[in-house]
């Protein structure tokens, strides 16, 4: 369970959220909805620990995540619209660099399996500068595969499905359902509500803000 308690988040001098409370169940999927500029990415970046909180705490099972930050990021995969891929490295090299940085095994068989899980095995030796936006996104999503053999239990995804075609979207949905079955928790910001086949909770930022005003 992830408890967001009384969050106040500022972006520049503007308050994006004030006194924001949400509980996110373990093993569930939460879709964050809201119009452009409603603060979806800001909220995700605050949960991941990038944007400092003005007020409030984020607790995972009674432990403040920022006081146990190493443990928190160890169990977390964060993916946003910037994919974190260097354009001068190939798809496989980027994945390899990411794995070593996470401190996980860089077993070649697993690497191939991960690329296969998003249909990228044919493009392993392609430079990122030569990839289309969809291929880049898939190369970034290949990281999610490693949550199955490392003890990851949390995904924070920001608009992961925007550039995907039908086949890779199906593969992505498959990854999501396997992860949920393993009691993983997903927070996802997207406009595409067809993304999950299983049950999910909607967190509508526009609604929350409207209620605040009334």
């Amino acid at each position: 369970m992830l408890y967001l308690e009384g969050l106040t988040i500022k972006r520049g001098n503007k308050i994006v959220f004030s006194d924001f409370n949400v509980v996110i169940q373990s093993g569930s999927m939460t879709v964050i909805k809201g119009k452009n500029g409603s603060g979806k990415s800001t909220l995700l970046r605050a949960i991941a620990g990038f944007t400092p909180l003005e007020q409030g705490t984020i607790k995972k099972d009674k432990k403040n995540v920022f006081k146990n930050y190493e443990e928190w990021v160890n169990n977390l995969i964060f993916l946003d619209t910037k994919n974190g891929l260097s354009k001068d490295l190939t798809v496989a090299e980027n994945l390899y660099a990411w794995l070593t940085m996470k401190g996980w095994s860089t077993d070649k068989k697993n690497l191939t399996m991960a690329l296969k899980s998003v249909g990228m095995d044919k493009y392993a030796d392609l430079y990122i500068s030569q990839c289309s936006e969809g291929l880049k996104k898939r190369a970034a999503l290949a990281r999610l595969y490693f949550s199955f053999n490392n003890k990851v239990d949390f995904w924070i995804l920001d608009e992961p499905s925007n550039e995907l075609d039908k086949t890779s979207l199906a593969l992505f949905k498959q990854l999501i359902s396997i992860f949920l079955k393993q009691n993983g928790t997903i927070i996802i910001a997207t406009h595409d509500l067809t993304i999950a086949e299983s049950e999910f909770k909607i967190l509508d930022l526009d609604e929350i803000k409207k209620q605040r005003v009334l």
């Binding site: 520049g12 991941a48 940085m101």
Partner: protein
């Protein structure tokens, strides 16, 4: 605890390898540094006229100033690329401390961009008519000073992350920090020229390098955290 440190050093080395690979795939930065340096070395004697003694007096300073000026354009990209493509976000959500990655960034920059300059500095020295007895000391002082310069550059590069037109601000912010390095670096060879022992200047230069080796990863990691939190 032991295993944590060994895994940190593995990640440190792996990250240096990654940066070296990236930089050798696009050699443009390295070529621009060496090209810029060669231009400075060529232009100075032309500006001074054909009297050999004049060149001899300034040769030492020209190499040091040329080194500092030549690397300024490339410093801006040291962290900018990884900031824009989201790699710094990925580092921030990994168990490795950001400080270690910053140290690896400073070291890889030094290895890629400044080692070639250190290796070619004897050639520049000969082109500028420097005394042969000065050349080993030039290489020693530049080896140490350039590490300090790249670590200062790392701070500057982290400082301008996410700002527009930061590249214009960067030299103004970091060149003042480099002045002690320049003074003591030049001092080593000036002492040799008048047959004095160069150790005072050299040790002060090394001291500055060590100070920046310690503080630069912490300052730049702090600045990167601010930049990705915006």
């Amino acid at each position: 605890m032991n295993s944590i440190y060994s895994s940190w050093s593995n990640i440190f080395l792996a990250h240096i390898k990654r940066d070296i690979l990236i930089n050798f795939r696009s050699l443009i930065d390295l070529i621009s540094i060496i090209g810029f340096m060669i231009l400075i070395i060529i232009l100075f004697p032309l500006g001074l006229g054909p009297v050999q003694e004049k060149i001899n007096i300034v040769s030492n300073a020209v190499i040091w100033v040329g080194l500092i000026l030549a690397i300024i354009p490339s410093l801006e990209k040291l962290l900018q690329k990884d900031y824009e493509n989201g790699w710094l976000d990925q580092i921030a959500t990994s168990p490795i401390p950001l400080e270690i990655i910053m140290l690896s960034k400073g070291m890889s920059y030094w290895l890629i961009m400044l080692i070639p300059l250190i290796l070619t500095s004897p050639i520049f020295a000969i082109l500028l008519n420097m005394d042969l007895k000065n050349i080993p000391w030039l290489v020693i002082s530049i080896s140490s000073g350039s590490l300090a310069i790249s670590l200062i550059g790392l701070i500057g590069s982290a400082l301008i992350l996410g700002t527009k037109r930061g590249n214009i601000l960067l030299p103004i912010l970091i060149i003042p920090l480099m002045t002690p390095i320049l003074i003591f670096g030049v001092g080593v060879n000036e002492a040799i020229k008048i047959n004095e022992p160069p150790y005072g200047n050299l040790f002060l230069l090394l001291a500055f390098t060590l100070i920046y080796l310690v503080i630069s990863p912490f300052i730049s990691a702090l600045l990167v955290r601010i930049a990705i939190g915006r």
